[in-house]
Each structure stands twice: as structure tokens, then as C-alpha cells.
Amino acid sequence: MKSNNKVMNMKEAVSTFVHDGDCIALGGFVTNRKPYAAVREIIRQGIKDLYLEGGPAGGDVDMLIGAGCVKVYFNSYFANSGFTEVCRRARHAIEQGTILWEDYSLDVQTLLYHAAALGLPYIAVKNMLGSNMIDKWGIAAEVWEKDPKLASRKLMVTSNPFNPDEQVCLLPTPKIDTAIIHVQRASAGGICRIYGNTFVDVDIAMGATNCIVTCEELVSEDVLRKEPWLNQLPELVPDAIVHAPYGAHPAQCTNHYDYDGQFLKMYDQASRTDEEFIKYLTEWIYGTEDNDAYLEKLGVSRLFNLRVKPGYGYVPL
């Protein structure tokens, strides 16, 4: 049975649905519609030992790893493309061996999230054959086998039972505890509308056990039900709806704002060393109590200057 009002504040949503040791997945793509406001709250709450499904990751994953929230990172890509070509905190953690990680291709990771949403136990693909993602596992086979948060193994190469001459790579569907996505519009009951690319957001929302949705605008259900073909999620999917304007800052959000290039450049610098990164966390995350405080710190004119120009959909040069 459903509850008709799922609105929570960010503190409550994160403390209810993100626990130490959970497997979480984040929506968005690199510098586009990343659920940064939720990421900042996870860091504020000092959540630990996360199993993190990054998808096409950017600073979101980098901050979580840098702040010590992550135990295992399932990677296909991590870059604030155009600003930081290899996210520095994640790179540092892998080079220093302070986290566990596993490598996939973006295609396969996308399909694994999709398989989770479709309720499929595993998938058979050609991708990754002939690459070292097949035989060099980031996580040891014994760990895969023993850790109850993981499937029994990363993958398996076998022949297609319907066509024995054909080799395929089988991969088990991940078990995601909580997905976090940022959307443009949601109703209090949980109907969601994403404008522009949806990336892997609908898949992780439907494949995870729980789903936190943060939104630019909290709108009346009637508005959304008038054009149901523009909505992606019904009330049945989200568990928490959090109103978080500019919740994807410093990333982009279709119809609302462009990325904050100045901020991304600052973050590129701030993520170079442990010292600088701690300063960044202290100033921008621990030092801001919530999303409202974070936005106040950015200031009105900065936020307004990020607003997309109609007809372009971004802030043109």
C-alpha cells in the first residue's frame, strides 16, 4: 500500500534510506543532472562503507570517495569532462589502494542497471570479451564469493546455448539498496518528470529497493497527470521526494541551469591534495548545514547567471 505524501527534507531522506554498508546508485551523467545535493548530505552525515554504483560518474563519486564514504566502487568512468579528465580523489584512492573497485564498460553497467529494472537475474553480452575486464578483476574472486553484498562472481564467459559457436559474457544483476536521482519535477506523491536526457536514472530508480528523488520543483499531481507521456515514474516507485532547487549544482539541469564552470575549476584545484580537499569539504559541505545554506553561500547572482537561455538550453558564450 502506498502513502500519498512522500515529501521529506534531505536529512530525513538520507538518514532513512542510506545506511553504512548500503549499495547505492547515482543518476545523471558526468556533469549533467548529478544528485549533488544528496551527495553533500551523505557526506555531512558521515555515512561509511558504501558500495557505490557510479554509472557515468563525475564529481559526485569523487567527493564521496574523497570524503571516505566508500568501501567498494563499481566503475565505468569518472571525470568532470572538460574540467578534470580523471577525477582526482577517486584516482588517488585507487592508486593508494584505500578502496576496492571493479571495472566495467559503460555499456555493460548501463545494461546491468537496466536488467535490475527489468527484474532479470543476469545478462549475456558480447561487450568486454577480449578485454582485461574479463580476466583482471579489481575485487578478488574470494571476496566476490564471500561478501553477501556481492554476487557470487563478477562474470563468466560461456557459449550461447542456442548457438554454441558464439561466445558470450554473462554478468549478474547488481542488488542496489537505494537509488538517488535528481529530476526537474515531482509531485508530493512521487510522480516524476525528467526533461532532456534520462541517462540511467529510470533504471536505477526501478532497479533499486529504495529510491530517493530530489527535485527542482515540487508540483501538483494534476499538472503531471495531464500529460502522462512526459512522466517517467509513477507514485509507486519513489520512497522519498526532496525539494532541492539547484540540487544538481555544480552540474547542469535541462530547462533550469548550466554547469558552473568556475566552481568545477575550483573543485579541480581543491581535489588535487588531501589538504586542499579537506578545506573544500569544510567550507562547502560541513560548513553548510543544508542545501539552502549551500545556495546562500553561492549567492543569488551566481545562481541566476547559470540559468539556461531559452532556445539554446544552456548559457551561450
Binding site: 549533467n32 548501463t110 545494461l111 558480447k126 570479451l129 577480449g130 536526457n197 541517462f199 533504471d203 539554446y312
Partner: protein
């Protein structure tokens, strides 16, 4: 022509790989720049597609990533990622994608690419973002690779195969169950490499004006056939103008 940098010549060479009307998968970075130049000059009808799900975008500015809102302008669809990857998975059966454009940190003579890490995988000297869409592109479509031409990047054996090229010769892909597509060209800041039709080994096809063949040999960490090399044609005035605006 003397004022053309190697990086600019590289962008021009890249743009030349895209013929008008082609459908190409474009990765972040230099491929984005090359594709934008092609679209503005010789290939206005090229269809550019991106692993983010943006299909047939018409950017007015150079985007910073394959998911940049700048790319979505005037697109024909904004697919969820799984739709794009399905289209790509079927491409080799249907011939609907002409080329994919990839980068990497290391390459070997068969065009196998490393964009994962340098050194021991579990204790890397240098870690990179990983595959992104590159492995899927390299699996399913013919590719053009873009890299800086440095000896440490052109290796006998790459430290990690992220994206398969021709593996170890003409039968390599078939043996491993991969579709029989593969690297068609490699564009660097020094010239353009091809892959021999029979052996699938890399050879020097073109060197840029001002570059010496020996310089290329010195910057290549394996024995490469240099015998077929010709000097690359300089860009047209029109292309030069656009290049200056964009770079």
C-alpha cells in the same frame, strides 16, 4: 601554412575521417572537436551520436562532454542510455554506424587500447577513468583512434586492454567471439596510421607537414612499417578559418 600546430593538423586529419552523410559515434575531447569541425566544413550531413543517448546533435559551441546540453541542441532524439547501447550492439549486423572515434592512454601494433591504468592493475602507477563507452564502441563498430604520439604510449604490450583492437592479428577477434570490425585508422599529433588489410598491423600512412618520418619512428615503441607513408595534404582555407575560431 607554417603556423599550423600539430594539434591543429590532428584535428583536421580527424575531421577528414568523417565523410559527409556518415553516422559516427563521438567520444569526449579531441573527437568532439574533430567532429564539430567536420560538421561545419566537409560533412554537414554527418550524424553524430553519443553514448549519453544524444543522437544527431547540432552543437553551436564545442561541448565539454558527451552529455553536455550544448550537444542536445536540435538533436533528433535524446535516448535513455540503454537505447543507444542497443542501437550500437545491433550496428554491426545492420551497418548503421560507419565509425566510432576513441581515445586511449596506450596502444599496441594491433590497435588494442588501454584507458584504464598504467602499471600493475591492482597497484597502478597512474589510474585513468576506465572504459566509459570505449569498450562497447571498440566491440561493435569500426573505429578511428586518436592519441598523442609518444613512445611510452605506443607499446609492445599495453598494461591493460580496455578496448579490443585486432587483438593479435586477422583471426583474433573471431576467436574471442567479437564482431569482425576493428580499428581503421589512428590519428596522432604527428600523422595518420592505417592497419594493414592482411596482417592487421599498424603502419604509417601519412605524416604531417613539418614532421619527419624518423621522429615518428622514435616516438613509436614498436617496429612499424614506414614504407607506405606520404605527406598529409594541408587543410583548405575554409577549414583553417573554422579551426582558428574553434581552437
Amino acid at each position: 601554412m607554417a603556423q599550423l600546430t600539430n594539434m591543429q593538423m590532428m584535428a583536421v586529419a580527424l575531421a577528414r575521417q568523417i565523410k559527409d552523410g556518415m553516422t559516427c559515434i563521438i567520444g569526449t575531447g579531441l573527437p568532439l572537436l574533430g567532429a564539430t569541425i567536420a560538421k561545419y566544413t566537409t560533412a554537414p550531413n554527418a550524424v553524430l551520436i553519443f553514448e549519453s543517448g544524444i543522437i544527431d546533435g547540432n552543437p553551436l559551441e564545442i561541448p565539454t562532454s558527451v552529455s553536455d546540453l550544448r550537444l542536445a541542441l536540435g538533436a533528433s532524439v535524446l535516448w535513455p542510455q540503454y537505447r543507444y547501447l542497443g542501437f550500437q550492439n545491433n550496428a554491426y549486423k545492420k551497418g548503421k554506424i560507419d565509425l566510432g572515434f576513441l581515445g586511449g592512454a596506450q596502444i599496441d601494433i594491433f590497435g588494442n587500447l588501454n584507458s584504464t591504468s598504467i602499471g600493475d592493475y591492482w597497484h597502478p602507477d597512474s589510474r585513468f577513468p576506465g572504459s566509459g563507452g570505449a569498450n562497447g564502441i571498440a566491440t561493435n563498430v569500426n573505429t578511428v583512434i586518436i592519441m598523442k604520439h609518444e613512445r611510452r604510449r605506443f607499446c609492445e604490450k599495453v598494461d591493460y586492454i580496455t578496448s579490443p583492437g585486432w587483438i593479435d592479428g586477422p583471426d583474433g577477434r573471431k576467436r574471442l567471439g567479437l564482431p569482425e570490425v576493428g580499428p581503421q585508422a589512428l590519428v596522432t599529433d604527428l600523422g595518420v596510421m592505417g592497419f594493414d588489410k592482411e596482417t592487421k598491423r599498424m603502419y604509417l600512412a601519412e605524416y604531417f607537414p613539418g614532421v619527419k618520418i624518423e621522429q615518428i619512428a622514435e616516438n613509436t615503441g614498436f617496429e612499424m612499417d614506414l614504407s607506405r607513408a606520404v605527406i598529409a595534404e594541408p587543410p583548405s582555407e575554409e577549414m583553417l578559418d573554422i579551426l582558428k575560431k574553434l581552437m
